[in-house]
């Protein structure tokens, strides 16, 4: 769950990380008044709130010297398309006057299994370029999760980067770390971390990515998640606790399975045969017939999909439940779409019996994944 900038800034403030004062704009009416009543002084920066990199270069960040200019920018940017995404909100802050721009982030590092601090004195938009050309200018320091931020971690950053001691650096690191841990962040990034003319540290822009699996205990973030525009099928699937993954726009085949490894293997085989997968749906483990019915209905409601390949190797998921769900879904549908089904594992025999009882004859059973993919291929050729 990636937070939009204004939400990330809001979270930073809650954890006493200094940010620029800002205001969210979601209407083109009386922009000047909104800015004035938020206590912002010109010049201001108006930034499109979309989850995409390179937003500045694409024209999503603009400067206004007065209310008139701000009005003009908002009318142009708000509700426009930026790199294929609709801009539903703008965030405006006073223009900063940075003396120095640094990069600071904490990410969850799968190699060390620890929070990893990444710091560079060469911050700003081109941090990825720095990573390529001057990798030694980027410091990486794992934090022992038992100890948290220690003196020696701060000392290492100060001496190794050559930025010199700063009265607030330790506090900032501690606050960012606290936020990282308490909000179950995968990434908490401040870029740039600005040292302004009066010597204060400010988080000018930030990215926060929160573990979806932890949203159940982060009600505020979960509420925010609901406000983001999502593919309606992804949304519908997630309401039933399924993962719907759009793949290729022109794909006419959908793949459904109980587990992402199996999904990926099936997709690999289908692509190798020259066919196109439009969507995949991961049922997860232990789905009941009622839920499978919804899964089939959701996938087949995508108009571009005319064939569905279901591969189930039942462990925690039982084959008869899956077959029963497919039966319920297909018998409730007016349009007949092709379903190729491969079931193996727990309660397979019972599952095959259910499949045989489905009326209409659009369901075919396959005894292995390659055989199922072959069946898709033969039907595609027709």
């Amino acid at each position: 769950m990636k937070l939009l900038e204004y939400k990330a800034q809001d979270l930073f403030s809650k954890f006493d990380i200094p940010v620029m004062h800002g205001a969210v704009i979601d209407s083109t009416e009386n922009v000047g008044e909104v800015i004035a009543s938020s206590g912002l002084n010109y010049p201001v920066v108006v930034k499109a709130q979309v989850q995409v990199g390179g937003r500045g270069k694409a024209g999503g960040i603009q400067f206004a010297d007065n209310a008139e200019q701000a009005q003009e920018i908002v009318e142009k940017l708000l509700f426009s398309d930026l790199k294929g995404l609709k801009v539903n909100k703008l965030y405006t802050v006073e223009k900063a006057s940075p003396k120095k721009e640094w990069y600071l982030s904490i990410m969850l590092d799968r190699l060390t299994k620890c929070p990893l601090i990444i710091f560079s004195a060469m911050g700003g938009v081109d941090i990825e370029q720095v990573a390529k050309t001057d990798p030694e200018k980027i410091l990486k320091i794992p934090v022992n999760p038992v100890l948290g931020i220690t003196d020696y971690v701060v000392r290492y950053i100060v001496t190794k980067s050559g930025i010199g001691a700063h009265k607030d650096l330790r506090k900032l690191l501690e606050n960012l770390y606290k936020m990282f841990m308490e909000q179950s962040c995968m990434l908490a990034e401040i870029n740039p971390l600005v040292l302004d003319e009066s010597g204060e540290l400010i988080a000018l822009d930030g990215k926060v990515d929160i573990d979806d699996s932890a949203l159940y205990r982060l009600p505020e973030i979960a509420e925010f998640a609901k406000t983001l525009p999502v593919d309606p099928l992804v949304k519908e699937a997630s309401d039933f606790n399924f993962l719907y993954i759009p793949i290729e726009k022109q794909g006419n085949i959908a793949v459904m399975s109980n587990g992402s490894g199996m999904l990926m293997s099936c997709i690999d085989l289908i692509f190798q045969k020259g066919m196109k997968v439009g969507a995949a749906l991961d049922l997860g483990g232990g789905a009941t017939a009622e839920r499978i019915k919804e899964a089939v209905r959701i996938v087949l409601s995508n108009k571009d999909i005319d064939m569905l390949f279901i591969s189930i190797f039942g462990g925690i998921t039982r084959c008869d439940e899956v077959a029963g769900g497919v039966k319920l879904a297909l018998e409730a549908m007016s349009e007949a779409k092709t379903v190729i089904m491969r079931i193996e594992g727990t309660n397979k025999k019972e599952g095959l019996e259910v499949l045989k009882s489905i009326k209409g004859g659009k369901v075919a059973a396959a005894s292995s994944i390659p055989e199922g993919v072959q069946a898709l291929y033969e039907r595609s050729a027709k």
Binding site: L108, R110, L111, K113, C114, P115, P145, V146, M181, S184, M186, D211, D212, S213, A214, Y216, R217, L243, I245, I247, E248, N258, G259, S260, G261, M262, L263, M264, S265, I267, D268, L269, F271, Q272, A280, D282, G284, G285, G286, F313, G314, G315, I316, E344, G345, T346, S368, I369, P370
Partner: protein
């Protein structure tokens, strides 16, 4: 002898009275697993499927001398279950649930390391040593006893096992390391067990895109593994930057964690690379294990 789970395994099922816990406990008992205790808070003193139920893992340990625990509780309660098992002195802890917060697993991982506990999962089907014992929810009917050790990041390995068994290629032990970002045990933590195990003649790694488990395994194999290793990597055609459901299976835009890279480094250390499940079986047949 097989590894981790075998005929000496004395198993606790945490969450034995739940829907999934009960269903799969019955399967495990039918398979011949020595399930000695169940744990469900508030249900101590009852029995389930003939197994005594305790309120805490510590009581279950004291009464039964169990050495392994499998945790069949929802993701929300899984971290607490792992903490309890580790603190009660269980040597091997296997977690099943998917969607356990990664931060919680980070804590579990370090706790297990500190106590020298072998932790498996989450998002794992468990561990089975065919003909001896199973701790998890795999469809045990497809397994057969033999000499191939399997480590898998996903349940894709059911396919492989099914075809192997049909081809007369049995398994010594099959372990689901799980598909999450921080697995309790990774490939690299288990290769030496198979190398030392007399019953294992060849090792199959079923990997997938994302992370560096396969790359680390390649490094380890180079210096420590003499037995033949066959690897298959799922997700070659997965779109970049898209999470395919496993928290771990994400390829970053620069190609880190890609199937190509994993195959390249494994191949360089003499690992046989399989392009499909069928291919894994073909290679094993040629190896004549």
């Amino acid at each position: 002898m097989s590894i981790i789970v075998n005929k000496d395994t004395k198993l606790i099922v945490q969450g034995i009275t739940g829907r999934e816990g009960a269903f799969h406990t019955e399967q495990m008992i039918q398979y011949g697993t020595n399930v000695v205790a169940g744990v469900t808070p508030g249900k101590g003193g009852q029995t389930k499927l003939g197994v005594p139920v305790f309120d805490t893992v510590r009581e279950a340990m004291d009464e039964t001398g169990a050495n392994t625990s499998v945790i069949f509780v929802p993701a929300k309660f899984t971290p607490a279950g792992v903490h309890e098992a580790i603190d009660a002195g269980v040597q091997t802890v296997i977690t099943i649930a998917e969607h356990v917060p990664v931060h919680d697993m980070m804590t579990c991982y370090h706790l297990a390391k500190m106590k020298g506990v072998r932790l498996f999962g989450p998002n794992s089907f468990g561990i089975i040593s065919p003909g001896q014992s199973m701790a998890g929810f795999m469809p045990h009917g497809i397994f057969s006893s033999g000499s191939v050790g399997i480590l898998s990041r996903s349940a894709t390995c059911y396919e492989t096992v099914f075809m192997m068994s049909n081809a007369g290629l049995g398994q010594s032990t099959c372990i689901g390391v799980g598909g999450d970002m921080i697995p309790g045990s990774a490939f690299v933590d288990l290769l030496d067990d198979f190398e030392q195990d007399e019953d294992t003649k060849a090792i199959v790694l079923i990997g997938e895109i994302g992370g560096s488990e396969e790359e680390l395994a390649a490094q380890f194999i180079k210096d420590n593994v003499t037995k033949p290793v066959v690897a298959g990597i799922a997700g070659k055609t997965a779109p970049k930057g898209t999470s395919m459901g496993h928290a771990g299976a994400i390829v970053s835009a620069d190609g880190t964690g890609s199937a190509e890279n994993k195959e390249k480094v494994l191949k360089a250390e003499g690992v046989y690379i399989a392009q499909s499940t069928v291919h894994i079986v073909e290679i094993l047949k040629e190896l004549n294990v």
